[in-house]
């Protein structure tokens, strides 16, 4: 009733503003997803339609040739297999390192807490940079192995702080009660703290998984063997080939009337690389604003 009263009080100018706000928000949302729809449409178009006549999102001739090609070709599928391996191993490692490190630091009476936290925060402002890290990975013998893609990134200071803040929000009474019942510190962590932290675990797990899946630079830096390359790197070479460049950005020469032939294949490869993320996203996104990010801001 109250809102009805407010609505009546609104001036015509204000109502126009309100309509504009809704239209504006809807337009922003459409712009955010439109490119994906274009890619979906294009991946089902014929090569001729892609290169010769314009169409909007829905192609006039429906074709699955591009997908047939990438299945037969096998490169991008092999890359996806590698990406799945890296993402799964990397996420499990990262969750182990992050939760075990964050839990002691979430206890206010933990001795040495502020020293450790300060040392962590220093690394958020200052880091060794690309070359010292590269030389370290090389010295550790991790070059050309998935260890280089999964282990160095397994503990992000930022995610650790979010996790710690979330643990701090768990009422200490619950933990104290478990201690009374004879639970050890690890028992409390496993039986009380982790089950209560599902929203944070889901969000941070997604952050790590997405980072690992999307990582392009790490793979380019550390993986040389083509059979070990992840989907992002293979997609990149497919895109560049379709664009007429080689991997280091120099123009390829296709001859006098040679068009790069792989537009539809490029779109289909883009599609299969993005789909895993779009599949997981809806299940986890509801946790984002609740709790986790709020905790990050307050911390």
């Amino acid at each position: 009733m109250k809102s009805k009263k407010n609505r009546i009080k609104r001036s015509p100018g204000d109502r126009v503003t309100q309509v504009l706000i809704y239209i504006g928000a809807a337009a922003v949302a459409v712009v955010a997803v439109l490119p994906f729809l274009y890619i979906v449409g294009g991946s089902f178009a014929t090569e001729r339609e892609l290169t010769e006549k314009p169409f909007l999102i829905i192609p006039t001739v429906f074709s699955t040739n591009a997908y047939k090609f990438i299945i037969e070709d096998g490169r991008i599928l092999n890359g996806m297999k590698n990406s799945v391996i890296v993402t799964v191993i990397g996420t499990v490692l990262a969750m182990f390192f992050t939760t075990t490190f964050a839990y002691p630091l979430s206890k206010r009476e933990f001795q040495g807490r502020s020293l450790v936290l300060n040392l962590v925060i220093v690394t958020m402002v200052f880091s060794g940079g690309m070359i010292p890290s590269f030389l370290l990975i090389k010295a550790l013998g991790m070059l050309d192995s998935y260890a280089a893609l999964t282990i160095p990134g397994a503990l992000s200071a930022f995610n650790m702080v979010i996790m710690k803040n979330f643990f701090e929000g768990i009422p200490p009474e619950l933990e104290e009660a478990a201690v009374m019942d004879g639970c050890s510190d690890v028992g409390v962590f496993r039986k009380i703290v982790l089950p209560l932290s599902k929203p944070a675990l889901a969000s941070i797990g997604l952050f790590y998984a997405v980072g690992l899946w999307n990582d392009y630079f790490g793979c380019m830096l550390y993986i040389n063997t083509e059979a070990k390359q992840t989907a992002q790197l293979i997609l990149r070479s497919i895109v560049l080939l379709a664009q007429g460049f080689d991997l280091s950005g120099n123009r390829l020469d296709f001859g006098a009337n040679g068009n790069p032939p792989e537009q539809a294949v490029k779109l289909a490869s883009t599609m299969v690389t993005v789909v895993p993320i779009l599949l997981v996203y809806p299940f986890v996104q509801k946790h984002f604003t609740k709790g986790v990010m709020v905790g990050a801001v307050k911390g």
Binding site: T98, Y103, I121, S127, I151, K266
Partner: protein
């Protein structure tokens, strides 16, 4: 509540030995992460001294000769420096002026929307680009802007009769980078402002309405002050990373035709260091970048505190 818990903890401040014996499990849990931080964060920081050496992998960290500030002199005196600085600052300032306000603006718009389902739907959609890799973003950009087949050039051709070389023309590089950043990160960048706004007491708005404050007055006197602190923190972080243009995006969008504007410190370190094997020289470049970043963060933080804000630490 917090007072109740602080008191016993403060009263029962036990000696470290006693605490350790009682809670050694906690220290054991801390160990893997602590080792990780030492090996992958602090070892690289401690090997930064190779910036002052002529490091070669066969002589190792301790066998390579020290050369003092040679690499820094070569870098600042070399002809690459000014161009790198110009390109890096151009991209950073462009992002600061044109990208930085966009998430704030979008958060203010969403804050005005009262239909919760509509608001949730918009949020779900605008977050998606954040989770897509830069390789995908570059792929989409190439597809949309291709000179012969891209939809943008088809429209341009329809209107003007000719096509524009978006992907090879150096003059288009920076605007494309900016549009990519806005498209990819606006939604996600908005989340911290929405979180800050969720803490605002709704009664403030009702009281303002009773006092006859319109939409703009409410925004100016209630909404903006509520997110002012967050805006300042985000600004400090952005100014602090002024030499960090990010590696992936620039590298993925650069090619032999636009290198005059696409070469920035991050891509330069990679090309000279990993590509040419000039480890010491590129470490010096990286160290310069890191020190400037540190100074910028501390400087902006100091200014924010002088202006009565809480800053980041």
């Amino acid at each position: 509540m917090s007072r109740k818990h602080k008191l016993p903890a403060a009263a029962a401040k036990v000696p470290f030995g006693v605490y350790f014996r009682r809670h050694w499990w906690l220290y054991l849990m801390l160990l893997p992460g602590a080792l990780h931080f030492i090996v992958f964060k602090y070892v690289p920081i401690s090997t930064l001294f190779i910036a002052f050496q002529d490091y070669n992998p066969f002589a190792g960290y301790f066998g390579s000769p020290f050369v003092g500030l040679k690499h820094f002199r070569n870098f600042f005196g070399g002809h690459d420096f000014m161009n790198l600085l110009k390109n890096t600052l151009a991209i950073s300032f462009m992002n600061l002026v044109f990208y930085f306000p966009v998430p704030i603006f979008l958060a203010l718009i969403l804050n005005e929307i009262r239909h919760i389902h509509f608001k949730n739907a918009v949020q779900t959609m605008v977050y998606i680009p954040h989770f897509v890799s830069m390789v995908i973003v570059a792929s989409i950009t190439y597809t949309l802007l291709n000179e012969k087949t891209g939809i943008v050039n088809l429209i341009v051709e329809e209107l003007t009769g000719k096509t524009l070389p978006f992907l090879s023309g150096p003059q288009y590089f920076r605007p494309i980078i900016l549009i990519q950043s806005i498209w990819k990160e606006t939604g996600w960048g908005m989340i911290v402002f929405l979180a800050a706004l969720s803490g605002v007491d709704v009664e403030l708005y009702d009281a303002a309405k009773v006092d006859g404050a319109g939409r703009w007055k409410q925004m100016w006197h209630i909404t903006l002050p509520a997110i002012k602190g967050t805006i300042i923190v985000m600004l400090i972080l952005r100014v602090g990373s002024i030499l960090n243009t990010g590696y992936d995006q620039i590298y993925l969008m650069s090619n032999s035709l636009n290198r005059s504007v696409s070469d920035v410190f991050d891509t330069y370190v990679y090309r000279v260091g990993v590509g040419n094997g000039q480890y010491s020289f590129s470490t010096a470049v990286g160290l310069f970048k890191g020190i400037v970043g540190c100074i910028m963060v501390m400087g902006t933080n100091w200014i924010a505190k002088r202006c009565g804000e809480s800053g980041i630490y």
